[in-house]
Protein backbone atom coordinates (compact mmCIF):
# COMPACT_ATOMS: atom_id res chain seq x y z
CA UNK A 1 0.00 0.00 0.00
CA UNK A 2 2.91 2.35 0.74
CA UNK A 3 4.13 1.75 -2.80
CA UNK A 4 0.78 2.61 -4.42
CA UNK A 5 0.31 5.67 -2.18
CA UNK A 6 3.77 6.94 -3.07
CA UNK A 7 3.09 6.19 -6.75
CA UNK A 8 -0.08 8.31 -6.59
CA UNK A 9 1.83 11.18 -4.98
CA UNK A 10 4.61 10.90 -7.57
CA UNK A 11 2.05 11.02 -10.40
CA UNK A 12 0.29 14.04 -8.87
CA UNK A 13 3.62 15.90 -8.56
CA UNK A 14 4.50 15.05 -12.19
CA UNK A 15 1.11 16.17 -13.49
CA UNK A 16 1.32 19.41 -11.48
CA UNK A 17 4.76 20.04 -12.94
CA UNK A 18 3.49 19.39 -16.48
CA UNK A 19 0.60 21.81 -16.05
CA UNK A 20 2.95 24.50 -14.71
CA UNK A 21 5.44 23.90 -17.55
CA UNK A 22 2.67 24.15 -20.12
CA UNK A 23 1.49 27.44 -18.59
CA UNK A 24 5.04 28.81 -18.64
CA UNK A 25 5.53 27.66 -22.26
CA UNK A 26 2.19 29.22 -23.31
CA UNK A 27 2.94 32.53 -21.61
CA UNK A 28 6.33 32.68 -23.36
CA UNK A 29 5.04 31.66 -26.79
CA UNK A 30 4.20 35.23 -27.80
CA UNK A 31 7.37 36.77 -26.35
CA UNK A 32 10.56 37.46 -28.28
CA UNK A 33 12.36 34.14 -28.89
CA UNK A 34 15.78 35.54 -28.03
CA UNK A 35 14.83 36.17 -24.42
CA UNK A 36 12.82 32.94 -24.01
CA UNK A 37 15.18 31.38 -21.49
CA UNK A 38 15.28 34.48 -19.34
CA UNK A 39 11.50 34.75 -19.35
CA UNK A 40 11.32 31.14 -18.12
CA UNK A 41 13.61 31.83 -15.19
CA UNK A 42 11.78 35.00 -14.22
CA UNK A 43 8.51 33.16 -13.66
CA UNK A 44 7.69 31.73 -10.22
CA UNK A 45 5.72 28.94 -11.96
CA UNK A 46 8.91 27.69 -13.62
CA UNK A 47 10.59 27.22 -10.23
CA UNK A 48 7.43 25.70 -8.79
CA UNK A 49 7.48 23.22 -11.68
CA UNK A 50 11.09 22.29 -10.82
CA UNK A 51 10.12 21.88 -7.15
CA UNK A 52 7.28 19.55 -8.17
CA UNK A 53 9.75 17.49 -10.22
CA UNK A 54 11.93 17.18 -7.11
CA UNK A 55 8.93 15.99 -5.10
CA UNK A 56 8.09 13.52 -7.87
CA UNK A 57 11.65 12.15 -7.75
CA UNK A 58 11.61 11.71 -3.94
CA UNK A 59 8.26 9.93 -3.90
CA UNK A 60 9.43 7.84 -6.87
CA UNK A 61 12.41 6.64 -4.84
CA UNK A 62 9.96 5.59 -2.11
CA UNK A 63 7.98 3.62 -4.72
CA UNK A 64 11.16 1.90 -5.95
CA UNK A 65 12.12 0.90 -2.42
CA UNK A 66 8.83 -1.01 -2.05
CA UNK A 67 8.21 -2.40 -5.53
CA UNK A 68 10.02 -4.17 -8.38
CA UNK A 69 11.32 -1.63 -10.89
CA UNK A 70 9.89 -3.54 -13.87
CA UNK A 71 6.42 -3.25 -12.33
CA UNK A 72 6.71 0.29 -10.97
CA UNK A 73 8.11 1.82 -14.15
CA UNK A 74 5.33 0.31 -16.27
CA UNK A 75 2.68 1.61 -13.86
CA UNK A 76 4.10 5.11 -14.29
CA UNK A 77 2.61 5.17 -17.78
CA UNK A 78 -0.75 6.00 -16.17
CA UNK A 79 0.61 9.55 -16.49
CA UNK A 80 -0.22 9.49 -20.21
CA UNK A 81 -3.89 8.87 -19.41
CA UNK A 82 -3.99 11.57 -16.73
CA UNK A 83 -2.32 14.10 -19.04
CA UNK A 84 -4.82 13.32 -21.80
CA UNK A 85 -7.68 14.15 -19.40
CA UNK A 86 -5.85 17.32 -18.32
CA UNK A 87 -5.30 18.46 -21.91
CA UNK A 88 -8.97 17.80 -22.68
CA UNK A 89 -10.56 19.38 -19.62
CA UNK A 90 -8.03 22.00 -18.48
CA UNK A 91 -6.57 23.17 -21.78
CA UNK A 92 -9.63 22.45 -23.93
CA UNK A 93 -7.73 20.48 -26.58
CA UNK A 94 -9.81 18.25 -28.84
CA UNK A 95 -8.99 14.56 -28.49
CA UNK A 96 -9.50 12.31 -31.55
CA UNK A 97 -11.07 8.86 -31.06
CA UNK A 98 -7.75 7.14 -31.79
CA UNK A 99 -6.26 8.67 -28.67
CA UNK A 100 -9.12 7.49 -26.45
CA UNK A 101 -8.50 4.01 -27.88
CA UNK A 102 -4.82 4.45 -26.98
CA UNK A 103 -5.76 5.30 -23.39
CA UNK A 104 -8.02 2.22 -23.22
CA UNK A 105 -5.10 -0.01 -24.36
CA UNK A 106 -2.79 1.69 -21.91
CA UNK A 107 -5.18 1.19 -18.98
CA UNK A 108 -5.71 -2.48 -19.90
CA UNK A 109 -1.93 -2.96 -19.83
CA UNK A 110 -1.64 -1.14 -16.50
CA UNK A 111 -4.35 -3.34 -14.92
CA UNK A 112 -2.55 -6.48 -16.14
CA UNK A 113 0.72 -5.27 -14.64
CA UNK A 114 -0.79 -4.11 -11.34
CA UNK A 115 -2.24 -7.60 -10.87
CA UNK A 116 0.98 -9.40 -11.83
Amino acid sequence: MVAYGALLISILFTVASQILQKQVADSCARGAPTSAVITYFSQPRFWLALLCLGGAMLSWLLVLSHMEVSKAYSLLSVNYAVMLLVSRFMFGESIPARRWLGVACLLAGIILIAQS
Binding site: I11, Q18, S77
Partner: protein, 147 residues
Protein backbone atom coordinates in the same frame (compact mmCIF):
# COMPACT_ATOMS: atom_id res chain seq x y z
CA UNK B 1 18.15 17.56 -48.70
CA UNK B 2 21.20 15.70 -47.54
CA UNK B 3 21.53 17.85 -44.46
CA UNK B 4 17.90 17.29 -43.42
CA UNK B 5 18.46 13.56 -43.81
CA UNK B 6 21.50 13.78 -41.55
CA UNK B 7 19.52 15.82 -39.08
CA UNK B 8 16.79 13.16 -39.03
CA UNK B 9 19.33 10.41 -38.39
CA UNK B 10 20.92 12.45 -35.66
CA UNK B 11 17.49 13.00 -34.15
CA UNK B 12 16.85 9.26 -34.19
CA UNK B 13 20.11 8.46 -32.43
CA UNK B 14 19.49 11.20 -29.87
CA UNK B 15 16.00 9.83 -29.15
CA UNK B 16 17.36 6.28 -28.80
CA UNK B 17 20.12 7.61 -26.52
CA UNK B 18 17.47 9.30 -24.42
CA UNK B 19 15.46 6.06 -24.16
CA UNK B 20 18.55 4.04 -23.19
CA UNK B 21 19.58 6.67 -20.62
CA UNK B 22 16.16 6.71 -18.99
CA UNK B 23 16.22 2.90 -18.68
CA UNK B 24 19.72 2.98 -17.17
CA UNK B 25 18.57 5.77 -14.82
CA UNK B 26 15.65 3.67 -13.52
CA UNK B 27 17.87 0.64 -12.93
CA UNK B 28 20.50 2.74 -11.12
CA UNK B 29 17.83 4.38 -8.92
CA UNK B 30 16.39 0.97 -8.06
CA UNK B 31 19.84 -0.41 -7.25
CA UNK B 32 20.71 2.60 -5.10
CA UNK B 33 17.45 2.77 -3.18
CA UNK B 34 17.65 -0.97 -2.45
CA UNK B 35 20.81 -0.20 -0.46
CA UNK B 36 19.28 2.59 1.62
CA UNK B 37 18.28 1.25 5.07
CA UNK B 38 14.78 2.75 5.11
CA UNK B 39 13.57 0.39 7.83
CA UNK B 40 16.34 1.41 10.23
CA UNK B 41 15.19 3.95 12.87
CA UNK B 42 16.60 7.43 12.24
CA UNK B 43 17.61 9.04 15.55
CA UNK B 44 20.29 11.26 14.12
CA UNK B 45 19.84 12.25 10.48
CA UNK B 46 23.48 13.20 9.79
CA UNK B 47 24.64 9.95 11.34
CA UNK B 48 22.12 8.03 9.24
CA UNK B 49 23.33 9.87 6.11
CA UNK B 50 26.91 9.03 7.04
CA UNK B 51 26.01 5.36 7.35
CA UNK B 52 24.90 5.16 3.71
CA UNK B 53 27.18 3.13 1.48
CA UNK B 54 28.96 5.45 -0.97
CA UNK B 55 29.45 2.81 -3.67
CA UNK B 56 26.14 0.97 -3.27
CA UNK B 57 23.69 3.76 -2.43
CA UNK B 58 24.99 7.32 -2.90
CA UNK B 59 26.83 6.91 -6.21
CA UNK B 60 24.12 4.85 -7.98
CA UNK B 61 21.46 7.37 -6.91
CA UNK B 62 23.56 10.37 -8.02
CA UNK B 63 24.44 8.64 -11.31
CA UNK B 64 20.80 7.68 -11.83
CA UNK B 65 19.66 11.29 -11.42
CA UNK B 66 22.50 12.43 -13.75
CA UNK B 67 21.42 9.87 -16.38
CA UNK B 68 17.86 11.06 -16.05
CA UNK B 69 18.97 14.68 -16.55
CA UNK B 70 21.08 13.74 -19.61
CA UNK B 71 18.14 11.78 -20.99
CA UNK B 72 15.96 14.90 -20.83
CA UNK B 73 18.67 16.95 -22.61
CA UNK B 74 18.99 14.31 -25.37
CA UNK B 75 15.22 14.27 -25.63
CA UNK B 76 14.93 18.01 -26.11
CA UNK B 77 17.60 17.99 -28.85
CA UNK B 78 15.92 14.99 -30.51
CA UNK B 79 12.55 16.78 -30.56
CA UNK B 80 14.06 19.60 -32.57
CA UNK B 81 15.06 17.18 -35.35
CA UNK B 82 12.28 14.58 -35.40
CA UNK B 83 8.53 14.76 -36.01
CA UNK B 84 6.73 14.27 -32.69
CA UNK B 85 4.84 11.34 -34.20
CA UNK B 86 8.16 9.50 -34.52
CA UNK B 87 9.75 10.67 -31.27
CA UNK B 88 6.95 9.87 -28.83
CA UNK B 89 6.28 6.27 -29.92
CA UNK B 90 10.05 5.65 -29.60
CA UNK B 91 9.78 6.65 -25.95
CA UNK B 92 7.65 3.57 -25.25
CA UNK B 93 10.72 1.40 -25.97
CA UNK B 94 11.86 2.31 -22.45
CA UNK B 95 9.29 -0.09 -20.91
CA UNK B 96 10.69 -3.32 -22.36
CA UNK B 97 14.25 -2.01 -21.83
CA UNK B 98 13.70 -1.49 -18.10
CA UNK B 99 11.99 -4.89 -17.90
CA UNK B 100 14.81 -6.69 -19.72
CA UNK B 101 17.42 -4.97 -17.55
CA UNK B 102 15.63 -5.86 -14.32
CA UNK B 103 15.24 -9.49 -15.31
CA UNK B 104 18.53 -10.17 -17.12
CA UNK B 105 21.05 -8.23 -15.07
CA UNK B 106 22.22 -10.21 -12.02
CA UNK B 107 21.57 -7.50 -9.38
CA UNK B 108 17.80 -7.24 -9.51
CA UNK B 109 16.45 -10.78 -9.52
CA UNK B 110 13.11 -9.82 -11.05
CA UNK B 111 11.40 -12.51 -13.12
CA UNK B 112 9.84 -12.56 -16.57
CA UNK B 113 6.18 -13.49 -16.66
CA UNK B 114 3.70 -13.56 -19.52
CA UNK B 115 1.14 -11.32 -17.81
CA UNK B 116 3.69 -8.55 -17.40
CA UNK B 117 4.96 -8.97 -20.98
CA UNK B 118 1.37 -8.70 -22.25
CA UNK B 119 0.84 -5.62 -20.07
CA UNK B 120 3.94 -3.93 -21.47
CA UNK B 121 2.88 -4.76 -25.04
CA UNK B 122 -0.52 -3.14 -24.40
CA UNK B 123 1.14 -0.07 -22.87
CA UNK B 124 3.42 0.29 -25.92
CA UNK B 125 0.46 -0.05 -28.27
CA UNK B 126 -1.44 2.51 -26.18
CA UNK B 127 1.45 5.01 -26.27
CA UNK B 128 1.80 4.51 -30.04
CA UNK B 129 -1.93 5.15 -30.59
CA UNK B 130 -1.80 8.18 -28.31
CA UNK B 131 1.17 9.81 -30.00
CA UNK B 132 1.13 8.75 -33.65
CA UNK B 133 0.78 11.71 -36.03
CA UNK B 134 -0.26 14.13 -33.34
CA UNK B 135 -0.79 17.84 -33.75
CA UNK B 136 1.97 19.86 -32.20
CA UNK B 137 -0.51 21.65 -29.93
CA UNK B 138 -0.99 18.61 -27.74
CA UNK B 139 2.68 17.90 -27.16
CA UNK B 140 5.11 20.66 -26.46
CA UNK B 141 8.74 19.91 -25.77
CA UNK B 142 7.85 19.94 -22.11
CA UNK B 143 5.10 17.38 -22.48
CA UNK B 144 7.13 14.26 -21.86
CA UNK B 145 4.79 12.93 -19.26
CA UNK B 146 6.99 11.11 -16.80
CA UNK B 147 10.37 10.36 -15.32
Amino acid sequence: MNTSDDSYKRGLSLALCSVALVAVAQLLLKFGVAHVPLAAPVHDFTQWLGSLSITRAVMPLALGIACYGSSVLCWISALGRLPLSVAYPLLSLSYPLVYLGATWLPWFGETLNTQRIAGIALIMLGVALLTWKTNSSAHTAAARTHL
